[in-house]
Amino acid sequence: MQRIGVFVCWCGSNIAATVDVEAVSEALKSEPGVVFSTNYQYMCSEAGQNMIKDAIKEHNLTGVVICSCSPRMHEATFRKTVQGAGINPYMVEIANIREQCSWIHKDKQTGTEKAIILGKAAIAKVHLNAPLTAGESPVVKRALVIGGGIAGIQTALDIAEAGFDVDIVETKPTIGGKMTQIDKTFPTLDCAACILTPKMVDCAQNEKIHIYSYSEVTAVKGFVGNFTVSIKKKARYVDTTKCTGCGVCTEKCPVKNVPNEFNLGMNNRRAIYIPFAQAVPKVATIDADYCNMLKNGKCGVCSKVCTAGAIDYKQQDEIIEEKYGAIVAATGFNPIKLDNFDEFAYSQSKDVITSLEFERLTNAAGPTSGQLLRPSDGKHPHTIVFVQCVGSRDTSGCGKPYCSKICCMYTAKHAMLTREKYPDTDVYVFYIDVRTPGKNFDEFYRRAVEDYNVHYIKGMVGKVAPRADGTLDVQASDLISNEQLHISADLVVLAAAIEPDKSARPLATMLTASMDTNDFFTEAHAKLRPVESPTAGVFLSGTCQGPKDIPETVSQASAAAAKVIGLLCKDKLTCNPCVAHSDEMLCNGCSSCEKVCPYGAITYSDKEFRMPDRTTAIRRVAAVNEAVCQGCGACTVACPSGAMDLKGFSNKQIMAEVDAICK
């Protein structure tokens, strides 16, 4: 019989306001095996922990039940506490009477009754707990960063700086991401390329960093410290070891009508291309959808003009496998498609553009060489209307429910730069709220209003009507003057909401990392572990976790790197001892467990067993690799014969909990 101590936490008023903690500790006193029961204001505090330690010694406790917050919050804390008093840490059970009880009940009597039941269930389980010892697993001293935008670049540079090898996998032919398309950065108006491209070059030159450009992650196996990742290097039909990036092929290629994605389709590129002058790696890529040679075998111009002999029309996709100790997701964002917002006439007029397109129209390397010209007729626009919150803060089902965070600031930047360079241009910004909480941000926005005379109008645009004379009739609200306005504009710029890159969801599935309903990666803890995924060994960098601007992205990227470095510094990791175990005598060799195991931790082998009457028989049985098993329990549910069980969460323990609840 165990000697069990019960410790009920008030959590200040978090629990005590809706649960009568005194009644709970009193009621649980009479449960079988309970020799001590008490309650305290903050069980996780030093005084609370000492109370547990003292009780263990005084009453010779063999098991402990803590009625408190979720085990995700403090299970580790209390395991450490009891270990300090000489009990095996796995002899602790947490009854969650906060998240699953006090926070969701209003009535104190109901809350108290439920807390007692949850406590009884935990006590019933502790009776069947057995001491467990955690094993150890080695750490592969190499990190993988998925996504080569500013987030991935910064994370990789910081990890490499600490002396660890790090690989970047980027789907595009070059690293650099969205920041390469941006002209200037707020609030200091640095040239984006001037501050980004040196970092791209640093990545290329750092011997600790390996860049897999034009590549994708296709499979992830393993667990923290020991991931095995398959990377598909897409055929670019160019031997990157030979290509010198001279660009002759990109000038001679006869296919001239490929929409240039770098300029968002506002001009064309060739079928063989280098995305932009500062691309890293600076090598050419053939676009198989447009290349005549690859489509019908008729051309070969690039091969003829390439003096390095780098063109290889026979190149195939190649899949390689690498081992990593840690993985960082840095998959970034995209502006949403504007199909649901045709009232703004984006699909009907070339002169209605997105803010990212505006960046390209003002960038010296853009389709207009930095001259702000209307896409329709190449003339200077004299009246420009900026529309904020296009698809952001939208709960109608057409857009995104969240604030995209960056639009207020980049619109202020666009408006200000336009007025600076073209003082004869009238600039209107329609806003719902101007949100500028950042260092020097509000000052920046006010400068647009006060020094540059940008017309900020509180209200939304309802309709943009392209007129036959080429102007755009912008019908909008001015809520302060309570008027409906009609502005005859030459150019309308839509601040489209941003959303996670489409690659994030399949990646999350591969990583078994959780996501929110908007497909942003979820943090392990929104406040205290913001750069870690709940999945051990997976870290988050940049906008894949939520909308953020460049300074925030870089901060988070460095924070994620710090977490990765902390992990890679360790030689061994303590494993979770709550792993599956197969009873060979019960195993019928059906392979159900092997099929459902997401970690590949189960193997089958033929084994000799002694049978009655001194005979032997060969039977096929399952065995669990404890270093690989993550204790998810899928196999225990799949096993038809009851051979598979999970240490610390055995079928018996769970049934005992259910019995205690139903009693």
Binding site: A345, Q348, G397, K463, V464, A465, P466, R467
Partner: protein, 261 residues
Amino acid sequence: MTFSYYPGCTLKTKAKDLDRYGRKAAEALGVTLEELPDWQCCGGTFSMSKDEIASKLSAVRSLASAKDKGNDLVTLCSACHNVLKQTNDAMKNDPDFSAKANNYMKLDVPYNGETNVIHYLEMLRDRVGFDKIAEKVTNPLTGKKIAAYYGCLLLRPGKVMQMDNPENPTIIEDFIRAIGAEPVVYPYRNECCGGYVTMEDKALAKKKSNKVASSAAENGADMIITACPLCLYNLNKNADESDIPVYYFTELLAEALGVKD
């Protein structure tokens, strides 16, 4: 191909052409339209108030009658289409309303929005197929530049009408191409003509109708087509700043199919 057909009051009086050409064209396309024998006025406009029950019952009666016939219900007038679809949606998705309506009507079997209501244009697009129509056109309207006027009731509210993109529709433009003409896209094709406000505020109806008609004319249209008798009236009578002609789309369809007279 057989459908139940709900003509509505206006198509029996002031908008006989919309009905007559619609029936002739359907026949030419091999579509049988069976007029619901006991249809009643839809009510003209759908009350947006949840506690308006009685004024929606005549629409429910027609919908329930169509359910007994077992075929999809085709409507032609934009307003009837809007009222029938919204009422049907309320019967399907607003349990409070459907309980009250059923309670009041005392049908043998309660009606819960089972009838599938489609507009004549949806029938052309989704059942007949614009490509099939193009094949049957004997008298293409080649060279005609036609502006589609959707108005408000054909497409909105988009979540209930589920007919086309309410901000950038293509169904009538595709129809115009099918009959051999050239569609003119203009920004006010889905803005209101003023509707019933012509009874009460002529000036407002004129303002709205003129905006639509002049937008179509400015973009080079020879004519406007519509599915709504009230839109046709407003664009003809109240759009006094332009003399662009307005027709029912069924008239042009009948003409293209060679069955106009």
